[in-house]
Each structure stands twice: as C-alpha cells, then as structure tokens.
Amino acid sequence: MEAEISINYLAISTELIVIFTIVGTITLDLIFTKKSKYLVALFALVGSLISFIPIIFQWANYSKAMVLFDGSYVIDKFSIILKGLFILVTYLTFLLSINFVESDTYYEGEYYFLLLCSLLGALVVASSRDLLTIFIGIELASGPMFLLSGWRKGDPKSNEGAIKFFLLGVLSASLILYGFSLLYGVTGKIIFSEIVSSLSATGLHQSPVVLLSSILILAGIGFKISVVPFHSWAPDTYEGSPLPVTAYLSISSKATGFVALIILFTKVFYESGTSWGVILVLISGATMFIGNLSALQQTNPIRLLAYSSIAQAGFILAPIAVAGITGNYNDGVYASVTYLVIYAFMNMGAFLVVNILIKASGSENIYEWGGLAKDSPMTGIFSVVFFFSLAGIPPLGGWFAKFVVFRSLLSTGEIFGLSLGIIGAINAVIALVYYARVSKIIWMDDSPAGERVITVPNPLKVVGFISLALTLLAGVFPGIFSSLGEASAIFFSS
C-alpha cells in the first residue's frame, strides 16, 4: 500500500486555529510582563472567535460528511454543531474569567493556555471515530481541568477538590482504557465502523466481554458527566475551583463526556442497547432524584448549582438510555443534544448570576443574598431568566429542552420510557423549589442594612446578554433546533 497522506486542511481548520492560538498564548505569556498580561487574554479571546469562522463556513456550505484519516475523523453536521457549542462556551468562559483572573494572584497566561487545550480536546472528541482519537480527545479535554480546578493554590478547599478530581479522573481514564482494550482484544480494530462489522461478523456483539467493555466505558465516562454513582467528586471540585472554571466544568466538560458517550454507545455498542439501556435508565432516574434532593439542602450557591447540574445530567442521559432499549437512536440523540445546547447557555447564565452575587454580597450563603435584586435589577432579571429556565418554565428555553426529552421518552410508549417520563415530571417539580428559592431570596427577602453597590463589569454583561438572548430564543422559537434533528439523522447515516 502506498503511503500517500493527503489531509483536507480545510476540514480541520478549526482545530488548527485553536492549536495556533494555544501556541501563541503560551509564547506571548513568556514575552509579556505582568503589566501587559491582559494582552494574552485578548489573544486567546480573539483566537477562539476566529476558530468559529470555519464552523460557520462548514455549516453554510455543508454538502456531505467529510471523512479523514481512513474514517478516524469525521466532520458532519453533528460535529459541526457541537464544535460551535464548545467554542462559544469557551469564549463565554473567557469573558467570565477576565475580571476573575485579574483580581487575584493567578497565573494568567497558563490559565488561558489550559482552557484552550481543553477546548481542543473537546473538538477532537466531537469528530473522533476511533478508539485512540476519542481517548486522546477525552483526556486532552479533562487533563487541563485537573490543574485549573486547583488554581486557587492557597485555598485548602481548592486543593481538596483538585486532588479528588485528579484521582477519580485517573481512575476514570483507566476504566475507559480497560474497556477499549477489551474491544480491541476481541476485534483487533480501532475504527468504530470496523469494530462493529467485526463484532457482527463474529456474532460477539452480545457477548459478556463486549458487555463488560461497555460497562467499564460507561463507568469511566460516568465520572466525566458526573452521574450517580460517580458524582461525588463534583460538588467538592466545583466549590474549590475558580468560578469560571466551575462553569466550564459543568458545561463544556460535561458536554464533552456526553458527546463521547453518545458516539461510543450509539456507534459501537448500538446492537447491545437493550443491555446497557436498562443500566442507563436506572442511572438516569437515580441521578435526577439524588441530584435534586441534594440540591434542596444546599445553602452554598456553587454546591447548589453542582447538584443541579448533576440532576440535569440525569435528564440529558434519559433519552439515550431509552433509545438504547427502543433502538430509536435518532430521536434520542436529537433530544440529548438539544438539551445539552440549551443547558449550556442557561447554566452559563446561572453561573454568571452566582458570580456577580457572590462578589456583591461577599457571601457564599444564598440566605445572605436578601434583596440583592433591588440593588441591581439587571442581575435580578438575569437570575429569574436563567434559574427558571433551568427549572423548565415556559417561555424560557429550558422548557423546550425538557419537552424534547419527554417527547423522546414517550415516543414508543414502552415502559422504561414511560417510567423515566414520570420520574422526570416529578423531578421537574422538586427542582422548581430550589431554583425558585434563589429568586425568592434576592427579590422577596429584605435586604440587610447598608448600601450595597453592585457593578457588573462589561465582559460579564456580554456573557449575560448572549446567554439571555439564546435562552429566550430557544424558548420562543424552538424551531431553530430543527437542524439538530437533521444533524443527528446525518450522524447515523454516515
């Protein structure tokens, strides 16, 4: 075989721009002195924006999926949408970080460098179609987060959170690798499509070893998406990390994990769906209940959002779980991805609100936030929109996310989907109590004596208005998500 390597550089131009920005960021960090370090942030910000341009072109000129490296790397509508999401979330995280990182004795240059590395990992996951690439993507996405979560070096909580995250992260990586090695051992292939054909040819797709492999991979990814029973690290790590990093962890890292899960389970293990589907149904139901019931008890806003994002993960997982059982993957992936996209923006907004209010009140106890909305009606409105959107109240975006999930759960009327639908409905009500509590405190409780001045820095306003616009748009014109349905259809046809 002739070793002729031709690479479609246009197809991977997004990744290339991000790599260039990564190198540039770390180089500029060496050059600039402390005084002009903000230029590093600016460079990272601009770089991430530029990397969005190829996404737009690929979307606008889309004709068919581009397959690279013998099928290891695929750029289809599915991956384009997710890459767009990852870049936008990273961009918003940068905006959220600017004032935060400057305000303390952080290493600025490295901060942006690490976030960009994580972004690159996420981009790779979205396109990967073989075991090695997806593993590298997953670990490239989570590795930098180990460092970033321990960024507040002087804070014991940050150290504790980072150590927990690191140890469990390593464990999860080894579980995933073990699962992969079993697959490779059985089939001798690493590219997904070849694994599948080898499994069906040998009739091994229902064999115990493949099932074991799927369970190991599930457990490994379970840590990344923090679903029960692999969730216990999340609240501690979230609490210890710098707030923008927490936002990134709960949105982008989680989304990366979900994308990996979707790709692996619907591309590789789809023939054994009835086995892992049942496990996922149980995990999904338990995640919703445990996440929501724990969130009810929280007084710390970050832990509250941590448990809330655990509960939300239960919702995102539900359609995939049921799709495994019914085989209706197209619908399930559409629901999960739609939920992920809407969740990303409303959760980003919720972290923004928490960020502003912690600074304004000087307290990490929500019960001391009484009357803050009077001091900053804009933040008050943000809090209403984002928290009630998380609760799924129309006409805010969250309702449509919940709706598509319910729709895919009930689509076949089969008992697992029905039960998860009922569990979801009950959990939507439980969740309302703690989401509404935040609004109640800042709008309805009396403010303590003394003036509090809330200044919202401009970058945060930008984050707020972008998230607000997208959250409202998703709620009022959910039709814009129809392209996601098309994308998941293409995802399965390729």
């Binding site: 006409p395 319910f406 729709r407 009922i422 509404a436 309805m444 039709g479 129809s482």
Partner: protein, 526 residues
C-alpha cells in the same frame, strides 16, 4: 380599509390581543423607574388598546357560526415536532377572552393608586401585562404546545406578584421549622402545585400526539377523538393526567389547598386576576381539550368529577362559615363557585356546559369585584378580621353598598349574573347525559342545592358581621377613606356587567350556546 380589516380577521387581530401586552411590558422595562406616571399611563393605554382590539374581534366574530374556530391562523412554529402557531376563537373562548382583556384594564386602573409595599408600579405593571399575554394566549391557542406555553406563562408573573407585594404577616406553617411570611409560603405553594399538575399534563399531551397521527392541533385532535381514536388504558391514563393538570388550576377539591393561601396572601390585583381569570384556565381546559378529545373517558370520569364538585361546593361553604378572615372567606367561596362550574361540566349536557360558561364569566366578574372591595377594606382598616370589622355601612357607605350588592350577586340572587350559573348547573346535574349514573348526579345536585343555601348563609352572615351593626369603638373618630375615584372606576363597570348579564344572559349564551351544543353533539351524540 377593508383590506386592513381582512388581515385583521386573518389571525392578526387575536395575535395583537395576545402579544400587545407583552410587547408593552418590554417597553415599560425601558422607561426609567422615576417616571411613574408615564409608566402607568402607558400600561393603561396598552391595556385599553388591547381591550378595544378584543372588542373589534368580538364585532368581527360570526355568531351564526359560533361553533367554528374563527378569525384565526396557522403558522409554522416548531417544525421538527409539528407544533404550529395555530390560533382561533369560537363561541366558548370569546367571552373568556373579553373577560380577560376587560379585567386586566380594571386591574391596571386600580393599581394606579393602590399598590401595597414595596409599591414599585413599574414592576407590577409589567407583571400584569405579561400575565395578560399568558391569559389571552391560553384562550386563543389551538395547538396543545402553544396552549401549554401560555398556560405556564402566567405562573412566573403571579408567583412574583404574590411573593413581592403579598401579605407580610408572619405565621407558622406545618412542615416549616421557622415561622414564615405568608406571601413567601403562598407563592411557592401556588407555583409547585400548578407545576405539578401541568408537568403531568404535558406528558398527557405527548401521549395524544403519539397516538393521534403526530399532531398537536386541537381541532384535528378533536376530530380524531370524536371518531374514537383514543381508547383503552391509554386514554384513561391521558385523561387522568389532563384532569390533574386542569383540576389543580380550577381548583377542585382536594387539590384546592393552594388557593386560600394564594388568595389571602396576594395583593388585591393579584387576587382579582387569580380569581377572575387564572382559575378559568383550568375549567376552560376541560371544555376545550379534555371533553372533546377524550369523550369516552369524560363519560367514565364524569360521575367522579360530579362527586368532587359536590364535595367542593359543600366543603367550600362550610369552610367559609368557619372563616374570620374576610379575604380567606372569599377565597373559599371560589372553591364553592368553581364547584358549580365543574358540576355543570360533569353533566356533559349543553345546559350544564352553558351553565359552566356563564358561571365562569359571572364568577370572574363577581368574585373579582369582591376581591377588589375586600382588598380596599383591608387597606383602609389594616385588618381583614371580621370580628373587628362591623358597621361598615356607616363608616364607608359607598364601599358598604357595593359589598352588599356583590355579596347578593355572589349568593346567586336571581336577576344578577351569579344566578344563571348555579341554577343551570343544578338543572344540568338533575338531567345529565343519558347513560351517566343518575343517582350520583341527583345526589350531587341535592348537595349543590344545599350548597346554595349554605352560600347564602355565609354571605349574609358575612354582611351582618362586616357591613351592618354599629362600628366598633376602635374605628370611631378614625380618618377612614371611602372608595376613591380610581376604585370606583374599576368597580362600577363590574357592577353594571353583573346586572346586565343577570338580566340578559343571552349576552353570554348568544356566543356560547351554538358552540356548546355542537361540542356535546359531536362528542357525546346528545
């Protein structure tokens, strides 16, 4: 000119009625807080225009074809799930739409001068407008998902209305360690109860979607439902969850417990809007969605609904007899009155459902007025405790006369609006749809009749305690303000309507009757 009217009748008219308030609310957010007068005038103007538009809609409405959905349109909304922006009105929704736009105007007039702490007219006015969009939208939506979104849109504004402007009395509540302010407890209770109902209702809508050729369109689902597309366990389950969603909102006994708390805690305008319109969303849901789409299940459930309605009537009146709080008494009277509405609906006859329709409108007008008056009295006297009140006729003559009048209307005095709903509901229950268990319905009718007596009892007793007699010593020499112009401007139109509908019930029946008969014929063949 004609072309404008044409496009107007092509869905534009009712779309404006629905969305003008919302758009105005957004504009009002941009007016500086200090320009209170501008905010108030802009809100009033917007609500008046909305009301005017709804009158034009009522004028354009073809009453000879009241059973058909008119003046509507169907635009693509969420293509991927085949949910459309499908709107239209028929004889059933028209009176409720008018009631909604009308009461909103009065609520805004009242709010000019009578907002409790922390006043903030900008906040209150924008909430009323957002609420109005939700209410109007629910009455014109002909797509289940669109209906759901509007149905839920009212939750947030009402939650904040109760929570921010509500009653600050501190009380202890079972299940809470510390004492809690009434408004905080009531607002979240209202929210959680309603969301619980509607979350399951949404599952029911999805069930209909998947069994009924993947459509959310209400007219199409009615066609499917009346031709027997939904049967068996599936239909029973769907009816059960729809029942849950609507019955919480009505509210039917035993799901009513949020109502007395919410009403007592809410500021006056909140109580008025809640009683006059929000409760109707539930009973309207039964008539618009549950009955015609699932007729067989409606028949199976009708006796149960009748029994619950009868219990609600008796329970509501007995609870009223035990109240010392004026507002809480009116709140419980709503449970009773909505019991009559549901009794009428459960009979599944055209008389019963017509009774429900006029009952809804009458309850909206009369109970709305009662909440206005009691709210003002609470504001003047700084108490709602009926043991402390008394001699109101002498202290506040204008308010006293109106309270007396409204109480009479509420107890169903013939010649006033409240009479028709109660009387015809009992008539409907006496002679329910053939095939329904006659014993259950006649028993419910007797219970309802006893309820009317009890209703008269508690209202007259209330009048005796509050209005009549000599003023208590603590009020003598106090500077008490009788109803001012803003209050009278909000109240008098309701008084006039009460009389008009009492004398000419055709004002309502002229619109509803054909639509109701067609519904009953199509769904139940009767």
């Amino acid at each position: 000119m004609t072309s404008i009217l044409e496009t107007f009748s092509n869905g534009l008219g009712i779309s404006l009625v629905v969305f003008l308030p919302l758009v105005s609310a957004v504009f009002i957010l941009f007016i500086p807080k200090k320009q209170e007068f501008l905010i108030k005038i802009a809100t009033l103007g917007s609500s008046l225009v909305t009301f005017g538009l709804s009158l034009i809609v009522a004028y354009q409405f073809d009453y000879d074809n009241a059973h058909m959905f008119q003046l509507g349109n169907k635009l693509t909304w969420i293509e991927s799930i085949n949910s459309n922006y499908e709107i239209g009105i028929d004889g059933i929704s028209l009176p409720l739409l008018l009631l909604s736009t009308f009461i909103s105007v009065l609520a805004i007039i009242y709010s000019f001068e009578h907002l409790p702490e922390p006043v903030n007219p900008k906040g209150m006015m924008s909430l009323i407008l957002i609420l109005e969009t939700g209410m109007n939208g629910t009455f014109v939506a002909l797509d289940l998902i669109l209906f759901f979104v509007f149905f839920e849109l009212v939750l947030l504004p009402m939650y904040f209305m109760i929570g921010i402007w509500g009653d600050r009395t501190v009380r202890s509540v079972a299940g809470f360690k510390n004492q809690i302010e009434t408004r905080l407890y009531a607002s979240i209770k209202f929210f959680v109860f309603t969301l619980f109902g509607s979350a399951f209702m949404l599952l029911g809508f999805l069930g209909l979607y998947f069994r009924g050729s993947k459509t959310f369109s209400i007219p199409e689902l009615i066609e499917l439902g009346t031709s027997g597309a939904f049967t068996g366990t599936f239909a029973t389950l769907v009816f059960a969850v729809l029942f849950l969603g609507f019955a919480v909102k009505v509210p039917m006994w035993p799901l009513h417990t949020w109502l007395p708390d919410a009403h007592t805690a809410a500021p006056t305008v909140g109580s008025v809007l809640l009683a006059a319109i929000l409760l109707k969303l539930g009973s309207y849901g039964f008539v618009r969605i549950a009955l015609p789409i699932l007729p067989e299940q409606a028949k199976a459930w009708a006796p149960a609904i009748a029994i619950l309605a009868a219990i609600g009537i008796i329970y509501g009146s007995l609870a009223c007899l035990a109240q010392t709080d004026l507002k809480r008494l009116i709140a419980f009277s709503s449970v009773g009155h909505m019991g009559f509405v549901m009794l009428g609906i459960s009979s599944l006859t055209s008389i019963g459902i017509n009774a429900a329709m006029i009952g809804m409108v009458a309850h909206g007008i009369i109970t709305g007025l009662l909440f206005f008056i009691s709210g003002s009295m609470a504001h003047t006297y700084h108490t709602r405790d009926m043991d402390r009140l008394g001699g109101n006729m002498k202290l506040l003559p204008k308010t006293g006369v109106l309270l007396g009048f409204t109480a009479m209307a509420s107890l169903g005095l013939p010649g006033l609006a409240g009479f028709w709903g109660e009387f015809m509901a009992l008539l409907g229950a006496y002679n329910p749809l053939p095939g329904l268990n006659i014993t259950v319905f006649r028993t419910s009718m007797v219970a309802g009749a006893i309820g009317t007596v009890l209703t008269a009892g508690y209202l007259l007793w209330m009048l005796q305690r509050v209005n009549l007699g000599e003023p208590k010593e603590e009020w003598i020499g106090q500077d008490l303000h009788d109803a001012d112009n803003y209050e009278l401007a909000a109240w008098i139109p309701l008084v006039i309507l009460t009389v008009l509908i009492g004398i000419f019930p055709k004002l309502i029946f002229g619109s509803t009757n054909d639509a109701v008969i067609s519904l009953v014929t199509k769904a139940f063949g009767g």
